[in-house]
């Protein structure tokens, strides 16, 4: 019944394939070209001479260190978010009274705070706390701004746990802490995973916080490294695009080995 081929959709998706595919092809193609052939032949050509020198240039410039910093920021952000958002969600879902309802509303509103708009006072706070030009200066604000989505996603997952399970555990005399560890966390694993992926991507993608909160080379993360590359290697376009390609390697590995989790995480972040 629905199997009649949809030619219109076929043509449209082929067009979209070109829009997605051509820039990606140009990216990879340029990254493996020597600079001389690139200036002759442009980004969209058949590769004539393949070289990996561009990647060597990128690695020599300290790019691996930037990747490592980004990984540290992402890991610490996820740890802080989970440590704080899981108990909040638990209180929101299982607690009662206007206070816990207020907590939920607060994070719902928090969803609307653009990090951009509060960057000036945040800069001041990070300075006062002595975290300027340290990775903590990136981690703490990134974690704070990942909290609203994480609380919404995790409390959404916790709401699906049947009330009778709580009652059974409560009748057995389990305290809230035990219920959280033995019942709530295991049963809301998937929403916790979604929140982790979301927070990690925030940290991974973050540009504004690193730009404002750090300045030295030892605290540079990948996104900022790319930004500085533009001014340093502006003329060496193949090396620049090799850096772009390398910046995607960690998440490409995640995509290859945990595609389902990644896709589900992104879908879940949209809220249902």
């Amino acid at each position: 019944m629905r199997s009649r081929p949809n030619y219109l959709a076929g043509i449209a998706t082929f067009g979209w394939l070109l829009i997605i595919g051509v820039p990606l092809y140009a990216l990879v193609n340029t990254a493996v070209q020597p600079q001389t052939t690139y200036t002759d032949r442009g980004p969209v050509s058949l590769p004539s001479a393949v070289t990996f020198d561009n990647f060597v240039t990128v690695v020599r410039s300290g790019f691996v260190g930037y990747l490592w910093n980004t990984a540290l920021v992402a890991a610490a952000t996820v740890a802080i978010v989970l440590l704080l958002a899981v108990p909040i969600s638990y209180a929101v879902v299982r607690g009662h009274g206007w206070l816990t309802r207020g907590v939920f509303r607060l994070f719902l509103l928090g969803l609307a705070i653009p990090a951009q708009a509060v960057i000036i006072p945040l800069f001041l706070i990070i300075n006062r706390l002595g975290f300027y030009d340290s990775l903590w200066g990136i981690i703490l604000p990134t974690a704070a701004f990942s909290m609203p989505v994480s609380v919404l996603v995790i409390s959404g997952g916790m709401r699906n746990i049947s009330v009778s399970l709580y009652e059974a555990m409560a009748l057995d005399g389990a305290r809230p802490a035990r219920i959280l560890l033995d019942l709530v966390i295991p049963l809301s694993r998937s929403s916790i995973a979604t929140a982790s992926i979301f927070a990690a991507l925030q940290a991974w993608n973050g540009f504004l916080f690193p730009l404002i909160m750090t300045q030295s080379d030892s605290t540079k993360v990948v996104t900022l490294g790319l930004y500085n590359f533009v001014s340093e290697y502006g003329a060496n376009i193949p090396a620049l695009l090799a850096a772009v390609l390398m910046s995607a390697v960690p998440i490409l590995l995640v995509y290859l080995f945990a595609r389902r989790a990644l896709v589900a995480g992104l879908m879940g972040a949209g809220g249902k």
């Binding site: 979209w16 980004p43 909040i88 816990t100 509060v118 000036i120 945040l122 703490l140 991974w204």
Partner: protein, 309 residues
């Protein structure tokens, strides 16, 4: 007798509820997270409104100047232009992204093998960070070495980023290229939850593909349309990295959208007071947009009926 048993029942139930209530986690569980969020998100929000009432260069103490910055903001022609460009970009981004991601999302919700393979390819732009995407496109759009150099005859001019219209179009193109995959995912997930029986019934009634799309799929996607559009709206209000890396606000100040102007005012010319006005204005716009979306989608109602279960 009846009343005695029923009151005992009530008492029993109350006793049971009391013991269960005792076992509920208190607000204390939320306190560490709340404090953290207050320090790094709520306090800065109050801070930015306060700073907008001061004159501050970042070194000496802020001087309270009342509404001076605000009246300056209202009479600043550059700010009106920034607001206008921001609005044009927002509308352009939504007008391009929403239809394409709805169509792609519905299409990729089908379970055919070729659709699964193509969807995996369409996902790829999401693997690049926004900064990486912008850096890549900056090179691809380069008037001397990029793609326009080869298509100069077709495009009229190779320097696409050299005019305001061209620069705005490029910003929409690059933003859409990066974010359509994300919105497609949202619609794909939602389209898969539309009951198949609706389509079967429509097909029996003789409704064609287009009618099915407009009368079943679109209405069923209503909530996702609201969510996804709000993401585009709030995200668009704060797009900063793409502008900084792709056009740097140029040509001239032609694409200096509000977030970019705010960044320049604060961290290039060190006029933190005036920058805080722009920031407060952004905050107002974003909060307003998300308030409207929460009302439209009924998100707040949905959660409050489930609370405390």
């Amino acid at each position: 007798m009846v009343s005695v048993t029923s009151s005992r029942l009530v008492r029993n139930r109350e006793a049971r509820r009391a013991t269960l209530a005792l076992e509920r986690p208190g607000v204390a569980w939320a306190v560490p997270g709340l404090l953290f969020f207050a320090v790094f998100a709520l306090a800065p929000m109050a801070g930015v409104v306060y700073l907008s009432l001061t004159s501050w260069d970042g070194l000496s103490a802020p001087q309270f100047t009342g509404l001076h910055n605000w009246s300056r903001f209202l009479s600043d022609g550059q700010m009106w232009q920034s607001t206008l460009v921001t609005a044009v970009l927002l509308v352009g981004n939504i007008a391009v992204q929403a239809p394409i991601s709805i169509l792609l999302g519905v299409w990729s919700a089908g379970h055919q093998r070729n659709r699964a393979v193509l969807s995996a390819i369409f996902f790829l732009p999401l693997l690049l960070s926004t900064a990486a995407t912008a850096v890549m496109w900056r090179q691809l759009l380069d008037p001397n070495f990029g793609v326009p150099a080869e298509l100069a005859g077709l495009l009229g001019s190779a320097n696409l980023l050299g005019s305001q219209g061209g620069a705005v179009a490029c910003l929409v193109l690059v933003t859409s290229w990066q974010f359509i995959p994300f919105h497609t995912l949202l619609y794909q997930g939602a389209a898969r939850t539309v009951p198949e029986t609706l389509y079967q019934a429509a097909a029996i009634d003789g409704a064609g593909r287009a009618r099915q799309f407009f009368h079943i799929t679109l209405p069923q996607l209503r909530n996702t349309i609201v969510t996804s559009t709000t993401f585009m709206l709030v995200g668009g209000l704060t797009t900063f990295d793409i502008v900084l890396l792709l056009t740097n606000g140029g040509p001239g100040t032609d694409t200096s959208i509000l977030p970019f102007t705010m960044y320049q005012t604060a961290f290039r010319t060190y006029d933190y007071g005036y920058a805080s006005v722009i920031a407060s204005f952004l905050l107002l716009l974003a909060t307003g947009a998300s308030f409207v979306m929460v009302k439209l989608s009924g998100y707040d109602k949905m959660t409050s009926t489930l609370e405390g279960m």
